[in-house]
C-alpha cells in the first residue's frame, strides 16, 4: 500500500504545495493541465505533466473520468485532489477506488455524510455538540420556510445543503427579504452544486469563524492540531487566517478540539479534515460544518505545530498509523496567513487577470510564500484569483503581525492588481492588532479606506514622469549594468586562439 506516484488533480499554489511534499517524501508527482495552464508553475515543478482538456474547469480539472484515465496511464497509484474542484466529490473518490487508485482523503461515506450540511448537523446534534439554531432538515416551500425562519428568529442565514465556500448563502434581516433571498440562493446552489436544497440557521451578530484541524489515521486514532481563526473575510471568503485564535484560551481550545474529534470519529473520518465553528462574543461555540479535505489555510497550523499536513496525508493514505497522540501535539508561537489574490480591493475586489511583469517575493526569517506563479506568468481568467499565500510565524501575535507587515511591504507584483495594499492596511489596523476580529471586520473597516492616502503622492508623480521621460529616450536610464563575465569559468589553459 506504499504510495510511489501521485497524480495531483489540481492546479495553482495547492498543486505546487502537494508536489513539494511528494518530492520531499521521494514520491513521484504527476501534474495535469488544461489548455490555459501549459505555462503554469505546477507543470514545471512536477516530474510528469499531461494535458487534460480545454480551459473551462468542467472540461479539465472537473473531468473526473479523464483524470482517472491519465492517472492509470501514467502509472500513478494515488490521487491527491487538493481543495476545490473534485476534493469533496464522493463519486470521484469512489471512481479512484474502483480504478485501483488510493484517494488521498477520507472514505466516500465520510465525504457524503459531511457534504450534506443538514446530515452533518444531525450528527453533531446526536453527539451533543452545540449547533447554530436552525433547521436539521432541508426546508421546502415558501410557507414552511417562512414558518421555520420565524421560529428561529431573524436575522437568519439561508444556506445551501450541499454548500461551501460562501456559495448559495444569503443573509436575511427581515421577513420581507426572505422570498427574494431564497430564490437567489436556490439558483446559486443549483448552478454551483447541482442541487437547490436549502436550510436555515440563525445569523449570529459579528461571530468569529474558528475552525479545528483534525488528523485521523486508518486505525481509529484521531488528534486535533488546535484551531485557526478565519474571521477576516470578504464576500464570505477568507482573506486572513491565523493560529492560534487570539480569542481562544486553553480551556476553550480543549472543548473545541474535543468536539471536533468526536465529530470526526462519528463520521468514521480518516485523513486530514477541518471542523468549522462559529464562536460568539461570550465564548459559546456552534458547529457549522466539516470540510473533508485540506484547507487553503493549512500552513498556519503547520508553522505552529511543526507538523507537515500534506506529508501526514500521504502517510495516512499509505496506511501508516499517526504514531503520536494528543499530548504529543504541541504548539509554539503564532502564525498568520494572508491571501495574495489577483483582485483590486479598491474597486470592489474586481478580479485582475493579466501578465505578472515583475515579481519580488519576500523571504527571510519565518516568512513562507506558497505560490503558484512566477515572473512572466499570465494569470488566467478561467480560475480563481488566488496567486499565493504569504505565511509568517512569530513568538507571539504582535511579532507575527510585525513580520507580516514587513513581508507584505517587500512583496512586489507588477502587472496585475492584488490584495496586498489592503492586507497591509489590515495589519496596521488597531482592531486587528488588538484581536478584535469578526466576520464583519472588513465591512466595518473598509469605508475608511481610499486607494492613495497621499503620503507618497509626490513620489508617485516623480516615478510616473520619470517612466514617461525615459520611454521617450530623454534620459537613457542609468548606466547599463556592466556586461556579464563572458568567459567560461575554468582555470588553467585556454587553447590556441582561433
Amino acid at each position: 500500500m506504499t504510495i510511489a506516484k501521485v497524480l495531483v488533480a489540481n492546479r495553482g499554489e495547492i498543486a505546487v504545495r502537494i508536489i513539494r511534499a511528494c518530492r520531499e517524501a521521494g514520491i513521484g508527482a504527476v501534474a495535469i493541465f488544461s489548455e490555459a495552464d501549459r505555462d503554469a508553475l505546477h507543470v514545471q515543478m512536477a516530474d510528469e505533466a499531461y494535458p487534460i482538456g480545454p480551459s473551462p474547469a468542467t472540461e479539465s480539472y472537473l473531468a473526473a473520468e479523464k483524470i482517472v484515465g491519465v492517472a492509470k496511464a501514467a502509472g500513478a497509484d494515488a490521487v491527491h485532489p487538493g481543495y476545490g474542484f473534485l476534493a469533496e466529490n464522493a463519486a470521484f473518490a469512489e471512481a479512484c477506488a474502483e480504478a485501483g487508485l488510493t484517494f488521498i482523503g477520507p472514505p466516500p461515506a465520510a465525504i457524503r455524510a459531511m457534504g450534506d450540511k443538514t446530515a452533518a448537523r444531525r450528527i453533531a446534534r446526536e453527539l451533543g455538540v452545540p449547533l447554530v439554531p436552525g433547521t436539521l432538515e432541508p426546508v421546502a416551500g415558501d410557507e414552511a420556510t417562512r414558518a421555520a425562519a420565524r421560529k428561529i428568529g431573524y436575522p437568519v442565514m439561508v444556506k445551501a445543503v450541499l454548500g461551501g465556500g460562501g456559495k448559495g448563502m444569503r443573509l436575511v434581516r427581515r421577513e420581507e427579504e426572505l422570498a427574494g433571498a431564497l430564490r437567489l440562493a436556490r439558483g446559486e446552489a443549483q448552478s454551483a452544486f447541482g442541487d437547490a436544497s436549502i436550510y436555515l440557521e440563525r445569523a449570529l451578530a459579528e461571530p468569529r469563524h474558528i475552525e479545528v484541524q483534525v488528523l485521523a489515521d486508518g486505525q481509529g486514532c484521531v488528534v486535533h492540531l488546535g484551531e485557526r481563526e478565519c474571521s477576516i473575510q470578504r464576500r464570505h471568503q477568507k482573506l486572513v487566517e491565523e493560529s492560534p485564535s487570539p480569542f481562544v484560551d486553553a480551556a476553550l481550545r480543549e472543548r473545541l478540539g474535543e468536539a471536533a474529534c468526536r465529530i470526526a470519529q462519528a463520521a468514521a473520518y480518516v485523513n486530514a479534515g477541518t471542523v468549522e465553528f462559529l464562536v460568539d462574543a461570550e465564548g459559546n461555540f456552534y458547529f457549522l460544518e466539516m470540510n473533508t479535505r485540506l484547507q487553503v489555510e493549512h500552513p498556519v497550523t503547520e508553522l505552529v505545530t511543526g507538523i507537515d499536513l500534506v506529508r501526514e496525508q500521504l502517510r495516512i493514505a499509505g496506511g501508516e498509523p499517526l504514531g503520536y497522540g494528543q499530548p504529543d501535539v504541541r504548539g509554539r508561537g503564532v502564525a498568520i496567513e494572508c491571501r495574495i489574490n489577483a483582485e483590486d480591493p479598491f474597486a470592489g475586489w474586481l478580479p485582475s487577470p493579466g501578465t505578472i511583469r515583475g515579481l519580488r517575493v519576500p523571504s527571510g526569517p519565518w516568512v513562507r510564500d506558497d505560490s503558484g506563479v512566477y515572473e512572466g506568468y499570465t494569470v488566467s481568467r478561467f480560475y480563481d484569483t488566488l496567486l499565493a499565500k504569504l505565511i509568517v510565524w512569530g513568538t507571539d501575535r504582535a511579532a507575527a503581525i510585525d513580520r507580516m507587515a514587513r513581508g507584505l511591504a517587500e512583496y512586489k507584483v507588477v502587472g496585475v492588481r492584488t490584495t496586498i495594499p489592503m492586507l497591509e492596511r489590515i495589519m496596521a489596523h488597531p482592531d486587528f492588532r488588538a484581536g478584535r476580529l469578526s466576520t464583519g471586520f472588513l465591512d466595518r473597516v473598509m469605508p475608511d479606506l481610499g486607494a492613495g492616502q497621499g503620503r507618497h503622492a509626490s513620489i508617485a508623480l516623480i516615478a510616473a514622469v520619470l517612466a514617461q521621460y525615459e520611454r521617450l529616450g530623454r534620459g537613457t536610464l542609468a548606466a547599463p549594468p556592466p556586461s556579464p563575465w563572458r568567459q567560461a569559468a575554468r582555470p588553467g589553459w585556454r587553447g590556441r586562439p582561433e
Binding site: L350, P351, L359, T385, L408, I420, L466, L477
Partner: protein, 166 residues
C-alpha cells in the same frame, strides 16, 4: 522637459532634466534631486535626499499605475504642449451619454435593468462572473437606460460595451 501629470482631479506641471540615473524634477515651487534606477520589470529604486523608495510603475493605455509604500496612484502623464492643445477648448460640456464597458472578460450572469429604466446612483445594473467571483456593477450617477447590449448567460470580452445610460 515639461510634462503635465494628472492624479485624481489635480493637474500639475512637472519639469524634468538630467539622465543616466541622476535627475532634477521640479513640481511647482519644489525641486527634487532624484537618483533613480530602473529594472526591466518596472520596479524603480529611487533615492531622494537619502530616503529610499521602491516604486512599481505599470503603464496602461494613457495612465501609469504607481505603487509606492503601500499606496496606489493612477497618474496620467502628458507632454505639456499636448496637454495645452487638448484642454484649450475649455472643459468638456456637461455629462453626455455614459457607457458601461466590461473591465475584464467573463460571463454576464444577471442583468437588472432594461431600456427605458430610470436609475439612481448605487442601483445595481448587472453582474459579471469572472475568476469564480460574481462582480456586481452599480450606477455611479442617475440617468435613463438607453441601450442594453447584453443578456444573462452571454460571455463578454474586456472592452465590450454592455449598456448605455443617457
Amino acid at each position: 522637459m515639461k510634462f503635465v501629470a494628472t492624479a485624481g482631479d489635480r493637474a500639475q506641471t512637472v519639469e524634468i532634466s538630467g539622465g543616466r540615473g541622476q535627475y532634477r524634477v521640479t513640481i511647482g515651487e519644489q525641486v527634487w534631486e532624484v537618483d533613480a534606477r530602473p529594472t526591466p520589470q518596472g520596479i524603480y529604486s529611487l533615492l531622494i535626499g537619502g530616503v529610499s523608495y521602491v516604486a512599481d510603475v505599470t503603464e496602461r493605455e494613457d495612465v501609469a499605475i504607481v505603487e509606492v509604500g503601500g499606496e496606489i496612484y493612477a497618474v496620467k502623464v502628458e507632454e505639456a504642449t499636448r496637454y495645452v492643445i487638448r484642454t484649450r477648448g475649455g472643459p468638456v460640456a456637461g455629462p453626455g451619454p455614459q457607457t458601461l464597458v466590461a473591465p475584464l472578460p467573463g460571463r454576464i450572469t444577471h442583468v437588472a435593468v432594461k431600456t427605458g429604466d430610470r436609475v439612481r446612483a448605487g442601483d445595481m445594473l448587472l453582474v459579471i462572473e469572472a475568476m469564480k467571483m460574481e462582480n456586481e456593477f452599480k450606477a455611479s450617477a442617475a440617468g435613463t437606460v438607453s441601450e442594453v447590449r447584453v443578456q444573462a448567460g452571454q460571455p463578454v470580452n474586456a472592452g465590450d460595451v454592455l449598456l448605455v445610460i443617457a
